[in-house]
Structure formats: structure tokens, C-alpha cells
């Protein structure tokens, strides 16, 4: 009798290879997975790399629950400016530095202060508006840093979203199809175990998504001159963990279903809030606290926030560790849940 671990490894490898061959020979699926994100990024680059958006965004440091209106400071009554509460000073100053917000007003200390980025023309406009608004004088603080182009900011979001769809639908539909056609029943008649089968599907999909998205990322970096401040290895580690957790999420959805329509519906119910809440196209910095906390439950949030931290701020491994831990925990939970719920046959 052969060693059970090597036998298990051989079965896993065979199942992963068979699935990879099936995917790679499905030309329509491959081309869709490659072409769609490239066009999306190019389109966004074309649309958003022009002049900045007209709306000014100003963070206000004040105790939680403070109502931001002109009674607090006359400046807060200015139209065409979005004001929002920011809990942490350092994080807010960093956003001014990156020009993700145009000004920070600190009303927590007795004598108020404000920060602008000296390299941002919009900061200077806001400074003029502040002087004209009257009210108690605020002390001027400056920081500097090049503007983050929207395309630099949105690309991690778009690629993250594409990865999410590839993970959820790529695995969910395939397993439901296998179950419906009776292929899973056939596999169940072999020594292949549920955990080996699921892990094989996961690994095969993971490798394909990493390879395809690395190519897409490289193309985007060259075409759009994307900013990349941090380490490629840290980015790869983050992406691999995020893909693992999102595929495992798809496995939970497809654990028992035999209807493609139902699977599609459930996957959409999961994917849509992720797309909206995880900051793909717009920052959720100004969103209500509850929404921000909810977003932390989704793997896509950790992928996008982590990737932006690495690419835009040059975050180190230690700095993205909370995202990595969250993704690792989700991966384990979803995989174990998926294997426990898994059924080989329908009905």
C-alpha cells in the first residue's frame, strides 16, 4: 500500500491538472478572462486620467458624532465641498499628502489647525475659501506629495473586482455544472476525497487567476505607467491569499446546489455588495462607520486596501499584516465550511 500522503497528493495533482486543461482549452473563457480587465482598465484610464473631479473633499477631525455644519465653523457651510468626519489625524494627513483629500481641518484642539498639500492647486483654492469664510482663525500646516492619479488608485480596485468575479463565478458555476451532469457522482465512486477535489479545483483556479492577472497587471503598468511604490512579492502574497479566500467563498456557495440559475443568483447577491462596499471605484473613507465595518467582512476590501497601500504608499509586509491575517482567517473558515457542506450528488 502506498503512503497515504503521497497518494492524496497524486490524486490532488491529477484533479488540478485535469481542471486546468479543461479551462485552458476553453478558448472563450480564457479570452474573456484576459481581454475584459484590459479593456476595463484602458477605458477607465481614458475616462479618468484627464482633469480632476470638480468636487473638493475635506476631512474634519472632531469628536465622533459631531454634526458637521456651519455652527462648528463657517467654512463647513461652503457649497461644492464634501466634508466628512475623520477619526485619526495621522491617517488623514497621509491622505492630504497623497491628495486623496484636498484639506484636513482639525477642530479637536483649542486652537484649530488645517493641513493642505503645497503641491495641490485645489488645496490652495480651499485655503482661499477658508480665509473668506471668516470664523475663528485656524493655524496653517502644510505637507507635500505628488497627486495620486485616479487611474493609479482605481486600477487595484478594478483588478480586484475582476479577480473577485473570476474566483466566485469561475469556481461556483463549474462545480454546480459538474454536480448537475453527474460528473461529481462519478468522482465519488473513486478514492478521490471531497477535500482533495475541492483543493484541486482551488489550486487550479488560483494558479490561472494569478497568471492571467499578473499579465494584465504588467500590461496596465506599462500602458498606464501605474505607480508602484512597494514590493511585488508583498503584492503577490496579498493577491494569492485574497484569491484563495474568494475561491473558497465560491466553494461554500456551490457546496450543495445543482442549479446554475440559483448559483448565479446567490453569487450575484454576494458579488454586488462587495463591488459597492469594498471601494472599487470610489473611496469609502467618508461612508458611515457601519458600512466601513461591514466592508471589513469582505475579502475584496482587504485585497483592494492592501494593494493600494503597497502600490501607492509603499506599505511594508508588517503594515499590510492585518489584511493578510484577515484573508488567511477567511480562507480557512470558508474552506472548512465548503468541505463540510459539500455534496457529491444532487437531491
Amino acid at each position: 500500500m502506498s503512503n497515504p500522503i503521497s497518494a492524496s497528493w497524486r490524486r490532488l495533482r491529477a484533479a488540478a491538472w485535469a481542471r486546468s486543461l479543461e479551462f485552458m482549452r476553453d478558448r472563450s473563457a480564457v479570452s474573456w478572462n484576459v481581454i475584459f480587465p484590459v479593456f476595463l482598465v484602458l477605458g477607465l484610464g481614458y475616462v479618468f486620467s484627464g482633469p480632476g473631479q470638480p468636487l473638493f473633499k475635506v476631512a474634519v477631525l472632531a469628536p465622533a458624532g459631531t454634526v458637521l455644519d456651519s455652527r462648528l465653523h463657517p467654512m463647513l457651510g461652503t457649497s461644492q465641498v464634501q466634508f466628512y468626519l475623520e477619526p485619526e489625524r495621522e491617517a488623514a494627513i497621509h491622505k492630504v499628502q497623497l491628495q486623496r483629500i484636498d484639506m484636513l481641518i482639525d477642530l479637536t484642539s483649542a486652537d484649530g489647525r488645517y493641513w493642505i498639500n503645497t503641491q495641490s492647486p485645489r488645496g490652495k483654492v480651499l485655503e482661499q475659501l477658508l480665509r473668506g469664510a471668516g470664523g475663528p482663525p485656524l493655524a496653517r500646516q502644510v505637507t507635500s506629495g505628488a497627486e495620486t492619479r485616479y487611474v493609479d488608485w482605481v486600477t487595484p480596485g478594478v483588478l480586484g473586482m475582476n479577480i473577485m468575479f473570476a474566483c466566485l463565478f469561475g469556481i461556483g458555476y463549474v462545480i454546480v455544472r459538474y454536480r448537475k451532469s453527474g460528473y461529481l457522482k462519478r468522482l465519488n465512486a473513486t478514492p478521490l476525497r471531497a477535500f482533495e477535489f475541492l483543493l484541486a479545483q482551488l489550486v487550479s483556479r488560483l494558479v490561472l487567476i494569478v497568471v492571467i492577472n499578473s499579465a494584465v497587471f504588467t500590461a496596465c503598468r506599462l500602458l498606464l505607467h501605474l505607480r508602484m511604490e512597494g514590493s511585488y512579492w508583498n503584492l503577490l502574497l496579498l493577491v494569492v491569499l485574497a484569491i484563495f479566500s474568494m475561491i473558497a467563498m465560491g466553494l461554500v456557495v456551490s457546496a450543495r446546489i445543482s442549479s446554475e440559475e440559483l448559483a448565479g443568483g446567490i453569487l450575484n447577491v454576494i458579488a454586488t455588495p462587495m463591488m459597492v462596499l469594498c471601494g472599487v471605484f470610489f473611496s469609502i473613507d467618508g461612508a458611515p462607520r457601519l458600512l466601513q465595518l461591514t466592508a471589513q467582512l469582505f475579502p475584496l476590501t482587504h485585497l483592494i486596501e492592501g494593494a493600494r497601500a503597497i502600490m501607492l504608499d509603499g506599505a511594508t509586509l508588517a503594515q499590510i499584516a492585518p489584511h493578510l491575517l484577515a484573508l488567511a482567517a477567511m480562507s480557512v473558515i470558508y474552506l472548512v465550511l465548503g468541505a463540510m457542506l459539500f455534496k457529491w450528488r444532487q437531491g
Partner: protein, 292 residues
Amino acid sequence: MATVLEARDLIKQYPRVCAVGGVSFRVEEGSCFGLLGPNGAGKSTTIEMLEGLLSPSSGQVLFRGAPLGSHYRERVGIQFQSTSLQEHLTTRENLQFFSALYPRRRPLPELIALCRLEEFLNRDASKLSGGQRQRLLLAIALVNDPEVLFLDEPTTGLDPQARRNFWDLVQGAKAQGKTIVLTTHYMEEAHLLCDALMIIDHGKIIASGSPTALLAGHFDEAVLELPAAEARKLGDSSAYKEKGEIAELHTQDVNAAIARLLQAGASLARLRIRQPTLEDLFLDLTGQELRA
């Protein structure tokens, strides 16, 4: 002869229906055991319990005298009634994949020759004809050189020639000492391949034994078939059974029956005399057509 599989009072109860209501039988080493019955009789449920894919509600399946253990799947081969394979994989790749799942493997060239897969080895498995596909599925069921081979209606939907080719392959596997458990709708197939038969209906065994013994035990008469219009000339409608345009006369004395027909002025131009078949036996026992 040693017993390979033994079913002891197998019952499978679903919430609203009892699929199998207590069946016991033995499958002997190297034999081909046929499970017959109309649709919904409990054949598939019974065979799936033997395959270890379905747990009985009560009763037990023993493999070589012991309950089915964790390695049972490595020692049996299964061909389902309808199986879809992974898309975009060739015949050879499908064989390689299934082969890698087992610790004991039969050399692929041997399997390819046994199931005559040479001509479509590199063809996408989804592009195979019905007969080719069944040959590939049989090869997949044999990749681990199993001790017991389960074939669940393996020739349903095949044309007569493909069916005969498939029977040759099964006889080849049998000649190599494999124990085979077969379910089928085709009586000719059961008669040709099986050493022992079990007919079940409504989840119960209604007859069992070798095909010859079953027929000998139930029939000691011959069957005369002729056009119904000719049979009617006998006048006595209880003497024959009409089946569409054909009438059947069951008799122990063929000569006397023919004499009566001649006397009644019936034409014997289309008369056919045959021995009763398993199909007759089945109809006799269950009162319904096997393919119903």
C-alpha cells in the same frame, strides 16, 4: 465458489417511498450477476448500495465477508448508466486522470487494447459516438484492475452493433476472472452475459437463479406465434393471447397445437415456434413490459 459480495436484508427507505424492501443475495467470485426489473423497481438503489455509494436504511453489504471498508472503492470499478466527463479532455487524458486516482493501476496500453480505444485515443471525449463513449467508460471502470465490476445499464441507447461489441468486451473482462454485477433492460444481454439473475419489482426479489434454471422452472412449454387474425379462427379466445397483430399460443404439445390450427383453417405461412425467453418470464412474473 467463493462469495465476493453478500447483501443481507437490504432496506432503503425514503421519506415517502420504500425503494428496496429487504433483499438478500450473494454474488459469487468470477460470475456475472444480473439485476433485472422494470423502471422504479429498485435496481439502481440496490446496485448503489452494493457499490458503497448509498447507505442502506438497514441491512448490510459484505465484501469478502467483511463490511465495506474505506479501501472498498479502490477495489471495485463502476460504470454508471450515464456519466458526463470533464470537457475538453481526450480519451487518453481521461484515462490518465482516473488512473492517477487509484493506488493499483492497470497499464494503460493493456486497457486501451482491451477496450479497443486506439482509433479515438486523442479525440475530445465529448466528440465520441455512443459506442465509443461506453467503451471509454468501461475502460475507466477498469483502470484500477477491480475485483468487482459494476455495470449499470451499460448498453442503453446503443445501436445493435455497438451493443454486440460491448458484450464482447464484457465477456473479455469476465474471461479474465472479473466478478460482474450488471443491471439491464435487455433480456438478450442478460441471457448472454449472466450466470445468475435476480428479478426485482417493488423493491422485492420475485425470482432468482441461473437464466436456464429460471426458464426451466417456470416454463415447460413452447410458444407459437402467428398473426392474430389466423389464431382467431380457433374460435376459443382463451387458447391464445393477442399482442397487437400477433397472437401467442403456449403449448406443451406443438404437434397437437399445429393440427388444431390446420383443422380450424388457419394459415401457417407466418407461424413461428420458439422457446420462452426471459422476457416472457418477466411478463409472467410482473405482468408488465420490462421497458415500461
